[in-house]
Each structure stands twice: as C-alpha cells, then as structure tokens.
C-alpha cells in the first residue's frame, strides 16, 4: 500500500503524529500523510488517532476532510492519508491584508454548518470546532478537520468528559462541567466562530477556565434558574457574579456590520441554555442565508496569497 503514495516533506509535528506532504501516485493529487507514532503509548494507539480514523471513515461530505486511505507501513506505523488542504480559516481571519465582506462570512458559515449537519445527523459530535480546524481547499471550500476529539453519542448512561473543545469556543454547559451534553456544544463553537469572523478577533478570549466563565457571561449575561432550569445543579456552578443579559442595542454596537438576521442567527447559536440553542437544521433554514447578499461562490472567497 505504501507504494501508492510518495512522501515529500515534513510539514508539521503534533503530540501523536507527524504530518508529511505527499502525492497520490495514481492520480498525482496532493495529499497529507499523518503518520501516527506508535510505541510511545503503553496502551497501544493514541485515542485521538483511533477517533479520527473511526469517524472520518464514516463521514464523506464535501465540507468534511476526506480520509483517502489508512495503512500500516513496515515499521508498523499507522498512516492516515488525508486530502491536502493548504490553508485554514484562522490564517484568513488573521491576515489583515485580506478584505472580508459579509457575503464571504455567509459562505464560510454555510459550508461549516453543512459539514456539521452531516456530522450531527450521523450522531457524531466534533467537540473541537475552531477556525484553526476549519481547513480551506484550494477551491475555497471549507472542510471540517481534526476529529481527534470527536465521538458518537453512546448509551445515555455513559458519561462524557466536559474537558473538550478549545477554551474560547467552549459552551457554558461544558464550562459548568456537564457530563451529559448534546450536539449543541458544536453549535456554540460555530456561533463563536461566526462572531469572530465578523469581529476579526476572538470573541470570548478567556485567560483560563475561570476567566472564560467571566468573559462569556460578561458578553452574554449570566444564566439563571429562570432562563436555564437546573443550571445551578451542574458541577462547577457556584459563586457567579451576575451580569445582565446584553440588550439588542448593545449587540448592535458590538457587531456594527451585522444585519438584524445575522444577529438573530448568532443569538440563536449562542443561547446559554443548550436546550434553547438552534440545531444545524434550524441554522441552515435561517433567513440569514436566504437574505441578500448571496453567499460568495467558494472559488471567489478571499484566499491566503
């Protein structure tokens, strides 16, 4: 199997894998080879490698990174062959030379939600959505990547760890340490990404886990038993400073470029109570996507030069 691909150069190294750039010999297309280090873990393979393989093999969608192949080489290293995607949304947000117009944001949101919709309808939570994990293909398509923290919802009695999602994109139920949550945690992350695209700076950058709670509630109000029944029973809920919910006008001032329906959608995705948060279907059917301007065609989106 390893003869079907060439390994050209090393492009990165993570805790559990080395990433190489290569080519599929039969088709000549660029691919990324993720070589999983074995032997460094005493219980066999790292958990995230297994998760990544398990879910990517199931998920085929134009807005989810394609897992082309998996094989073990002579040294018994596990190789994941992934579609090669040269840039990500974080690079675009941080590249101050690029001009982002509302239609571009709509296009990125649309593609992200389509990909996430495909995950959720197959019962899979991504649990690590952030601009850095939304890769961009040379044609401009958003592809959700890094399924190292993903899992499918098991039996209801299973406990899920609340220590998931990069801090700035972590929903309030996770911050409170909930162990039985839902796909709504991904929606929260997408809502924060939406805000970040409009602001071009992270929306809720908490310095640590405690600060994240403060920052989140300063921006969106502190949840109470009234708007979120049962919230006070969650493990980490204690001694909160109560911040008032922001008025519509305050949100308008914070997001001067957003239209009313863009704000509606964002608020729907950033509902504190996960039971009230929109699901992917409701997000995609939101009027924001059908109102003018039309989402930019992927190939015309701003690209990292």
């Amino acid at each position: 199997m390893s003869t079907a691909y060439t390994k050209e150069k090393k492009v990165g190294e993570g805790t559990y894998a080395v990433v190489y750039l290569g080519k599929q010999i039969a088709t000549g297309r660029d691919i990324a080879i993720k070589e999983i280090k074995t032997g460094t873990f005493k219980d066999g393979l790292d958990m995230s490698a297994i998760r990544e393989m398990k879910y990517l093999q199931e998920l085929k969608h134009q807005n989810i990174i394609e897992l082309v192949d998996v094989f073990a080489d002579k040294e018994k290293n596990l190789n994941l062959i992934l579609e090669f995607l040269p840039s990500d949304l974080e690079m675009i947000i941080n590249d101050k030379k690029l001009m982002i117009v509302p239609a571009d944001i709509k296009s990125w949101m649309l593609m992200t939600l389509r990909g996430l919709h495909h995950c959720h309808r197959n019962g899979i939570l991504h649990r690590d959505l952030k601009p850095n994990n939304l890769l961009i293909s040379p044609e401009g398509c958003v592809k959700i990547a890094d399924f190292g923290l993903a899992r499918s919802l098991g039996m209801p009695n299973e406990k899920l760890t609340s220590n998931v999602v990069t801090r700035w994109y972590r929903g309030p139920e996770l911050l409170f340490g909930a162990q039985h949550y839902s796909p709504a945690v991904d929606i929260w992350a997408v809502g924060i990404i939406f805000a970040e695209l409009m602001l071009r700076t992270p929306y809720l950058p908490g310095k640590d886990d405690a600060d994240q709670l403060v920052v989140t509630f300063q921006a969106l109000g502190t949840p109470t038993e009234e708007n979120w029944p049962g919230v006070s029973h969650l493990p980490n809920y204690n001694n909160l400073t109560v911040y008032p919910e922001p008025s519509r006008q305050e949100l308008r001032n914070r997001f001067p470029a957003a239209t009313e329906s863009a704000l509606d959608l964002m608020c729907g995705m950033l509902a504190l109570n996960p039971n009230n948060r929109l699901n992917t279907e409701a997000c995609l059917l939101h009027g924001y996507f059908t109102e003018s301007p039309e989402p930019t065609e992927p190939e015309h989106l701003p690209k990292k030069s």
Partner: protein, 330 residues
C-alpha cells in the same frame, strides 16, 4: 468711482468684487443655470459657502446654491443656456432612430424636442412646458431607463472595441518592426554566408546553387513572421465580431448557476424509519435527571441515531461499493 452698468458688464470683470482679469489673470468665472449671471470663483466661495443665498445681481433675486455653479463653456450666455436646456430635455427624450418604425415618426419626435427646447430657451409657456416634460418623464420612466442602459452598453462596447484595436495595432507594429529588422539582418548575413560558402566550395558550378539556398532560407524565415501576422489579423477579426454581436458578455454569464438551497440538495426530510412516540422506560428514567436536562441532553437524539444506524445500511450493497473503490484506487 464710476458706477457699474449692470446691464452691460465688461467681459473680464467680476461685477461683484470688481476684480479684473487684466490685473489678476487667475480669475475664473462661474455661472449658475438658475440665472446665468457670471460671478468670479472667489466670490462664489465667499457668498455661497454658508448655504443658499440670493444672486448678488440687482433685480435678480434667484436663490442660488454653490454646488450648482459651473464653469462657463461658451462665451455667449444664451448658447450656454440652450445647451443646458437641450441636455435636460434630451435626458428625458432619449429614444434613437431604431426605436421608430418610420422616419416620419422619428422626425416628429425630433420636432417635439425642438419645440420644448425653443419654448424653454425663449421662456414661452415655461411652466406648462415643464409640466409636460415632467408628465412625459413619469409616463415613460421605464423606457427612459432602458434607453439609458442601452446607451451605456453601447458605450462600453465602443470602449472595448477601441481597446482591442489599440492592442491589435501595437502587436502588428511590433511584428512589422521585427520583420524589417530580420530582413536587414538576413541580407547582411546572407552576403556573409554566400562569401563563406563560396570560399570553402570546391567547384565553381556550386555558386548559383549556394546563393539560391541562402535565399530560400531567408524567405522561409520572413514567411514565418507573415504567418504570425495573419494569425493576429484573424484573431482580431474574430474578437471584433464577438464584441459587436455582444457574444463576449453572454459567454461570461452562460455559466449555469445552481439555485441556492441551504442544504445544497443534501437534506434527508423523510428518514427510512418511522419514529412514533417510542418510549423506553429504562432509558427515560435515566434521562429524567437534572444533570441531563441542564446539560442539554436529549434522548430523542439517541433514539434517532440508533434507528439511523440500524436502517441507513439497508440500501448499501458493500460488494458494489467495493468495486468502485477498487477502480478508483487502481
């Protein structure tokens, strides 16, 4: 000081500040199409900067605004005025000859325009005429806009053609220059070549042959350029045709556009299973807990997932899928 005769203002004098063009050559006159009284630039700035003011000419009294002032094009104010009026009428009456079936109709249309212009210029029935003009504009709003668009398009086409021609001419000149240069070179080179070959050639009989050879190669090289020139000419004609017939624009728009749908056509509205009001007392008891409710957990999601897992595989024939995969993988 001599009192200024307002009815007979000298040509190079601003009647407001009495500055003379002779003494300050930078003097510029402006007029306002309300009354066409000339005032110098600095006076316009001074008087009208703070908003609309009445015209400084005695017995005029028209309220003038600064943004309407413009540089006078014609010396004769009357000509200037007629031009302005004509411009205004023609902006509304903007049909072209192609819009009429017969020449007579078109002439009648032109006659109508002339009548309006005449009346407005000579201040006959001004109010009535203005009213008519307004009514016509209201009635033919769409037509006027369409005509305007058409004219813009024509103009764009014209610009495109002009651009194309410019490029074509530059290219042609370049090739022609190359040809002349090459011919010159070849001539000199040919001479040298002939001499060289004649020196090394053994028999005298070859002399004619050698000269013919060199000439042939010269001709083939120049004809190469001629071909390039013909190619260019052909290209130019093709592109010209395309611009004239408006085909180049259609080509851009021809790309079929998929109508927008939020799910991009990928939405399962009716799942392959029916999920009525299924109740599992065991699971429902687990989920009936504040930790589940507050965390946003929904048992429905789990039921859907389980049913989906069970049913979506039903129409998948793995053997068939494998074949296509093998094909792709070679």
């Amino acid at each position: 000081m001599v009192e200024l005769d307002w009815n007979n203002i000298p040509k190079d004098l601003c009647p407001v500040c009495k500055t003379d063009k002779y003494l300050s050559p930078t003097l510029q006159f402006k007029i306002n199409p309300e009354c066409y009284h000339k005032i110098c630039d600095s006076c316009v700035d001074r008087i009208f900067s703070l908003g609309p003011s009445p015209c400084p000419y005695p017995n005029c009294g028209k309220i003038l605004r600064k943004n309407r002032f413009k540089t006078q094009i014609f010396d004769d104010v009357e000509v200037e005025r007629e031009c302005d009026v004509r411009k205004r009428v023609v902006a509304v009456y903007n049909k072209t000859q192609e819009d009429f079936k017969t020449l007579d109709e078109y002439n009648a249309y032109l006659e109508e325009i002339e009548e309006y212009v005449y009346k407005l210029v000579n201040k006959i029935d001004v109010e009535q005429t203005e009213q008519k003009l307004k009514e016509y504009q209201q009635a033919h709003k769409d037509d006027i806009e369409m005509s305007n668009n058409q004219r813009d398009q024509e103009y764009e086409k014209f610009l495109k053609l002009q651009n194309l021609e410019k490029r074509y001419k530059a290219e042609k000149n370049k090739i022609n220059r190359e040809i002349i240069k090459e011919e010159q070179n070849l001539k000199n080179l040919g001479k040298l070549e002939v001499i060289n070959q004649l020196q090394t050639a053994s028999g005298e009989k070859d002399a004619d042959k050698i000269i013919a050879n060199v000439r042939d190669s010269m001709i083939s090289k120049t004809s190469n350029y001629k071909e390039q020139l013909e190619e260019l000419e052909k290209n130019y004609q093709e592109q010209r045709e395309r611009i004239i017939s408006g085909l180049d624009e259609i080509k851009e728009e021809e790309k079929p556009k998929v109508p927008f749908t939020p799910f991009n056509g990928d939405r399962v509205v009716s799942p392959p299973y029916e999920y009525g009001d299924y109740k599992d007392p065991f699971l429902l008891k687990i989920v009936d807990d504040v930790q589940y409710k507050a965390g946003g957990y929904k048992i429905d999601f789990y039921f859907h997932k389980s049913l989906n897992d069970a049913f979506t595989g039903l129409h998948c024939i793995i053997e068939e899928e494998k074949e296509t995969v093998d094909q792709v993988m070679g």
